[in-house]
């Protein structure tokens, strides 16, 4: 069955379970990034993602999309950006399923210049306003607001995944 379709043999009257994922395709501009932010917040709340994690994920999404729009080049601006939200039980990467926890991840796929943010050295935060530069804060925010980051470049597209975990207990 294709992703996102409901099973046809669901008992009548039973509320359909939400699939564990949601997808959206947007254009590469600020107004579309805002639409994506609203979409993400709505989809997360429908899946009972806690508010604190919703806020972290929407901030990360805004910053990732800003990077694509500003630094992705002409191919990023002319091709659609695909978004995938996946929500499920928390996963401990070393030990598998982690009982009593949840996680949500967002994968942003774009056709812009290949860029792996995991290779960018961490920015040293300035001690004074005079030392502060106005740039480079987006990646700082992505790193601080996500619990994990994954990147791959495949079929000419960047695929960046960021996620947040929470404890259900």
């Amino acid at each position: 069955m294709p992703r996102g379709q409901q099973s046809p043999d669901r008992p009548a009257g039973e509320r359909p379970a939400l699939p564990g994922f949601d997808e959206l395709t947007i254009g590469a501009n600020g107004a579309e990034a805002r639409r994506a932010s609203v979409w993400l917040a709505t989809a997360c709340r429908q899946r009972n993602v806690p508010q604190a994690q919703v806020e972290r994920l929407t901030l990360c999404l805004e910053e990732v999309l800003a990077n694509v729009i500003v630094h992705g080049g002409s191919t990023a601006l002319s091709a659609p950006i695909s978004l995938l939200l996946e929500v499920g039980p928390g996963q401990d990467r070393e030990h598998g399923h982690e009982k009593g926890s949840g996680q949500a991840s967002v994968t942003v796929s774009d056709a812009g210049i290949a860029f792996n943010p995991l290779f960018v050295p961490k920015k040293i935060l300035p001690a004074t306003l005079g030392e502060a530069s106005a740039g480079g804060l987006g990646l700082v925010m992505i790193r601080r607001c996500s619990d994990w980051l994954d990147y791959r470049h495949e079929d000419g597209r960047n695929h960046l995944t960021f996620g947040a975990r929470w404890d259900l207990r």
Binding site: A66, L125, L129, A134
Partner: protein
């Protein structure tokens, strides 16, 4: 998205921003913010308690403004609701350590002109 201001005496200007300081929101207020902080007031309070979302582009505008105020010998401070996503953005980027942040307007106004 809106931005407004009122002057409190000769020394203090209070700027109130509301809405989302994401890409479109910041684009719509950044130049006005720059003009408002250029006024020869000693203290500038930027009230963000009605801002629902603060992205790095908005933080960039705040840093630029705070530097401009500092360079003319003044001081810019922020009013932010405790526990809000705006405060989270400022803390995540360390900007709460560079631009003073207050939970209420009265404290902010005192600090801006101190």
């Amino acid at each position: 998205m809106s931005i407004s201001y009122d002057d409190i005496g000769d020394k203090l200007r209070r700027i109130v921003i509301s809405g989302r300081l994401d890409m479109p929101g910041t684009d719509s207020v950044a130049s006005t913010l720059g003009e408002l902080v250029a006024a020869p007031k000693k203290g500038v309070v930027v009230d963000l308690s009605s801002v629902q979302f603060l992205a790095s582009i908005g933080i960039r505008a705040l840093i630029t403004s705070a530097k401009a105020v500092q360079q003319r010998g003044g001081k810019m401070v922020l009013v932010v609701t405790g526990g809000s996503s705006v405060l989270m953005s400022l803390e995540a980027t360390g900007v709460d350590q560079l631009i003073p942040v207050f939970r209420n307007a009265a404290d902010a106004e005192r600090a801006a002109v101190a």
